[in-house]
């Protein structure tokens, strides 16, 4: 039965496109019907006239029959709807200017929403590109008393998990991809190399395409010199050569045998895409710098919570077996969520702000439609007298706003398509969690459709209700000139203004907060400066530089080479430099005192070369500098930053005190000889202004050599020439070494502010759009009000009203509404601030905050936003109101 109904429906839809044929056909059928009937009647002895009458009566009326036939053959609801749309289209075409303003406003609102929605979709909601990827989880350990902070994951815990779990169908571990030197075919380049267990490929369900996966025995130091190439590397670097399997490549000077090629579809998205995969040496435990990442695929029927309980049990048993007091608990979280939640907050925040803009656009358009409805009230009245029901009038008004919304939606989609690309490009790669393409998929299109319908209702319902409620008599009697808005209409328009103003204030206040946060960030003491200086990084790896002496020698020679270059003023290097975020943590304790906690204090360690403090203009607060007199054999010394002094010594004088480097078995950090504190330095920014201050210590590079360092070179040479000269200096020492991360210090500082600058620009753009919309809305309302009252103003002027009085009369209502909106907006902003406040700020160790050093109730931003909005309000209402002041009483009265 259902099938038959659908068939009938389809036929009906199809038929409506051949309507004239069908009508003719049915007329012919009726004619033949009547003719036959009349013939029969004549045969039965009736007169011609009688026969005809009887046949017609029997039929039940020609027109009624045709009408019900028509209803059955087409779809009456669809017909009416299409008729309404056609009518609406004609009306909109007649008023192109109005249509353009409304559609443009909507397109901006919908376009921005489309863009942010596609970003949300591609970044947060889209499943990771692995089969059944929502069953993938990240397993890690967090501090028992601070679940937000991940702890380092020792190898032994992973091995215990992998051996004892039942809740996972597969568990794998990897290290974060590291930048390493690939040498093959005579050239070398930096590529991302990822260490992983063979089980990672199984866990992700993306098997190795050519060749083979790693073998269990290859996950051991010594046997681990095998590699799987990423498909992209294989294609570009090795020209898809299938014979590469079995051949050696050199990574950081060491030889690896290629055993397999990963499939092209293997993309992680949430970490830098590795070019080469090598096995992780699990046993015997290798030195672990930063701990493992563990991913698992939940077994059928297992839940993340059950898996967590199981892993936690294994973790505690393992810690007990190792005789370590466990400070951690296990955590199991959805893999996609784990990697995206850090950015989710700011993305949702911007989505909210962008939705506000759409709301303002809709409110604005509602005001415009309302005014237009009023201008057409005579037409409505006429149609009502001709028999249009109120429902018909509402339907037609809504058809118009629907059409407008869809035009806006269409234009908005195009705009959004462009904007989402611009967004993603503008957003620095490191600010977005996933390396995905943003595109318009079906969900985004459905979202736009929903948004368009939503906006058409939002902006259409109120005006439709008003314009359909026409008093036929009143309107028609008054005639064209007598058309004026009733009190209800003006009240509604003013209400719309109030709503608009309050929404705009929220955005303006937000922009103010971001601006003052940005300014504060810019002025925040960075603790260092080296205008125009160039930085780059070198990473010596391989057997040639395994010994500390070799590293010391290489970097001393390179420093001398660079210092000797013409145009170079000064040069230094360190295992890390401020804002590069490339430092290492170590654990220290004050000698001869009980540890404040089991592990001592975690500090950031810089191994710095001579003149480090001078070149980077870092301030020494007390004691002496690290210099070239500190050698491998001289007494071991250290400089603490102010923050570390505070943490370790409080208000005590640290100079001369001894610090122990605490061995940390969990991280495989061996104990080192103690150091004596010889100086105190000012704090510097390690990642950017939005961070909790770090405890940092500076030790001489000669006493703590490292394979990788950052150089800082100040010179008056142009950048290109300097880089070229340095590169040849590097190559003259060893042609296999590569410079990377080449940046000026100013770029480094700029990059650290990139996220904040982006936030500011985005919010400021939204606020500017809101401001523009609000001013258009108020301008329109006041202009309309003045036009309506021209006659009244004329009479008032004739009766002796002063221009100021007239002006006040013209703008007082709009201004009052605006002021009310301001008040309401202040309340909304503060309420929103209360809800969002904590989430807008930095959470230590998460780096997710967006605001720096400014209160969510910042009175300066609030006052500035109010004043700016008020100024726009006054200006936007004053310009059209001037017309009221210049009304010529004679002209106004004659206008009747």
């Amino acid at each position: 039965m259902i099938g038959r109904r659908i068939r009938a429906l389809l036929v009906r839809v199809a038929r409506r496109f051949q309507r004239s044929d069908r009508e003719r056909d049915f007329s012919a059928e009726m004619e033949s019907h009547l003719a036959m009937h009349i013939e029969d009647n004549l045969r039965a002895g009736m007169s011609q006239e009688q026969a005809r009458r009887e046949a017609m009566m029997k039929l039940g009326g020609m027109e009624q029959t045709k009408e019900s036939y028509r209803d059955r053959s087409g779809l009456p609801l669809l017909e009416t709807f299409l008729r309404d749309l056609r009518f609406a289209f004609r009306m909109l075409r007649k008023n192109l200017c109005f249509t353009f303003v409304v559609v443009f406003t909507l397109a901006v609102g919908i376009g921005a929403n489309t863009a942010i929605f596609s970003v949300l979709e591609s970044q947060l909601w889209r499943p990771l590109p692995f089969p059944d990827s929502e069953r993938l989880v990240d397993a890690h350990t967090v501090l028992r008393d601070n679940h937000r902070q991940w702890d380092v994951m020792p190898n032994s815990v992973y091995l215990a998990w992998a051996a004892q779990n039942h809740q996972f169908s597969s568990l794998g571990a990897y290290n974060y991809p590291a930048n390493r030197n690939l040498a093959a075919g005579g050239t070398s380049e930096r590529v991302f190399v990822m260490q992983l267990t063979a089980s990672v490929f199984r866990t992700l369900d993306v098997p190795v395409e050519r060749g083979r996966n790693f073998l269990p025995e290859e996950e051991k130091t010594g046997a681990d010199h095998v590699a799987i190439l990423s498909n992209a590397l294989w294609r570009t670097r090795f020209a898809s050569d299938p014979d590469i399997i079995g051949k050696p490549i050199r990574i950081d000077g060491e030889s690896y045998v290629v055993v397999g090629i990963a499939p092209a579809r293997l993309r992680f998205e949430f970490i830098p895409e590795p070019a080469i995969y090598v096995p992780i040496a699990m046993a015997p435990p290798a030195k672990l710098g930063r701990g493992l990442y563990v991913i698992g695929r939940l077994a059928a029927g297992a839940t993340a919570e059950n898996a967590r309980l199981e892993l936690d049990g294994i973790l505690q048993r393992q810690m007990q077996a190792e005789g370590v007091k466990s400070e951690d608990v296990a955590a199991v979280t959805n893999l996609r969520v784990t990697w995206t939640q850090g950015s989710a907050r700011s993305l949702y925040f911007f989505a909210g702000a962008i939705l506000l803009v759409l709301l303002i656009a809709c409110v604005n358009n509602a005001g415009l439609l309302l005014a237009r409805g009023l201008a057409r009230s005579r037409e409505f009245a006429l149609r009502a007298t001709l028999g249009a029901s109120r429902a018909t009038l509402i339907r037609q008004s809504l058809a118009e706003s629907l059409l407008l919304a869809f035009a806006g939606g269409g234009a908005g989609t195009l705009l959004g398509l462009w904007a989402s690309g611009a967004f993603a490009a503008f957003w620095s790669e490191d600010a977005l969690p996933r390396n995905t393409d943003t595109y318009l998929d079906i969900r985004v299109l459905l979202f736009v459709l929903g948004l368009s319908i939503f906006s058409s209702l939002l902006m259409g319902v109120l005006p439709a209700l008003f314009s359909s409620r026409v008093d036929v008599n009143e309107t028609l009697r008054k005639g064209a000139s007598g058309l004026s808005a009733g009190h209800g209409q003006h009240r509604t328009r003013n209400l719309l203004i109030a709503v608009e103003v309050s929404l705009a204030l929220v955005l303006l206040f937000g922009a103010g907060l971001f601006l003052s946060s940005f300014l504060r960030e810019q002025q925040a003491p960075r603790g260092f400066d080296a205008p125009g200086a160039l930085t780059f990084r070198i990473n010596l790896r391989g057997t040639k530089y395994a010994q500390p002496d070799q590293q010391r020698l290489y970097y001393r020679s390179l420093t001398d080479e660079i210092r000797g270059l013409p145009g170079v003023q000064d040069v230094t290097f360190g295992s890390s430099i401020p804002l590069s975020g490339s430092g290492l943590f170590n654990t220290v304790a004050v000698a001869g005192r009980p540890l404040p906690n089991k592990h001592g204090t975690s500090v950031f360690v810089y191994a710095v070369g001579p003149r480090f403090f001078e070149v980077l203009q870092m301030r020494l607060l007390a004691g002496r500098n690290v210099d070239s007199s500190d050698s491998a054999t001289s007494p071991r010394v250290a400089i603490l930053n102010r923050n570390a002094v505070h943490t370790l010594f409080g208000s005590e004088d640290p100079l001369g005190k001894i610090l122990d480097f605490v061995a940390d078995e969990r991280r495989d950090v061996p104990a080192e000889a103690p150091v004596q504190i010889v100086g105190v330095a000012e704090n510097t920014q390690e990642f950017g202004p939005i961070e909790t201050p770090f405890d940092t210590i500076y030790v001489p590079f000669s006493q703590h050599p490292d394979s990788a360092v950052n150089f800082v070179v100040s010179s008056n040479l142009p950048r290109g020439a300097l880089v070229g000269a340095i590169r040849s200096a590097v190559h003259s020492l060893d042609k296999n070494q590569v410079l990377f991360d080449i940046k000026t210090v100013d770029q480094l500082i700029g990059d650290s502010m990139r996220g904040s600058r982006f936030n500011l620009i985005l919010v400021a753009c939204l606020a500017a759009v809101a401001l523009a919309l609000v001013s258009v809305g108020i301008f329109g309302t006041v202009a309309y009000f003045v036009q309506q009252r021209t006659q009244e103003f004329g009479i008032r002027v004739a009766l002796g009203a002063t221009p100021v009085r007239i002006l006040r009369n013209a703008i007082s209502r709009a201004l009052f509404a605006g002021a009310l909106g301001l008040l309401f907006g202040v309340g909304t902003s503060l309420a929103l601030g209360r809800i969002l406040g904590s989430s807008l700020y930095l959470v230590p160790y998460e780096h997710t905050g967006m605001l720096y050093g400014v209160s969510i109730y910042d009175p300066v931003s609030m006052a500035a936003a109010c004043i700016l909005l008020l100024a726009v309000l006054v200006l936007a209402s004053f310009i059209p109101a001037r017309r009221a002041m210049r009304v010529d009483p004679m002209a106004a009265l004659r206008y009747e």
Partner: protein
């Protein structure tokens, strides 16, 4: 326009199908007359309502139509049963008989059942 009409349309459709089965291809006027005659003139068919019903049956694929020439050499649109229509007629006949049988039992004078 209420439920009454639906019931009527339902039975009208059955009558149309039955008529076409009995008479073979027939035009609208003929169907109307035939229904009137069969009902023994008890049923006054408003001929106009027949056409939307015919259209509906055609849309549902139970009957098909074709222009032809009547006995009196007049152009007329002829309707005939399709295969689906024949099946539907059988089904509806059965349903109808069942319904009337049930109703008949209810309306039969006080028959005791143990």
């Amino acid at each position: 326009m209420g439920e009454k009409k639906d019931v009527w349309q339902g039975t009208l459709a059955l009558m149309v199908l039955k008529t076409l089965q009995a008479m073979g291809p027939l035009h609208g006027y003929g169907i109307a007359r035939r229904i009137e005659q069969t009902s023994g003139d008890l049923l006054i068919v408003n001929y106009g309502t027949l056409y939307p019903a015919l259209l509906k049956l055609e849309q549902e694929g139970y009957i098909s139509s074709e222009w032809g020439v009547s006995d009196n050499n007049r152009k007329a649109k002829y309707y005939k049963l399709t295969r689906a229509g024949r099946k539907q007629l059988n089904k509806e006949e059965r349903d109808w008989e069942q319904t009337t049988a049930i109703l008949a039992r209810f309306l039969a004078p006080g028959e005791e059942r143990s």
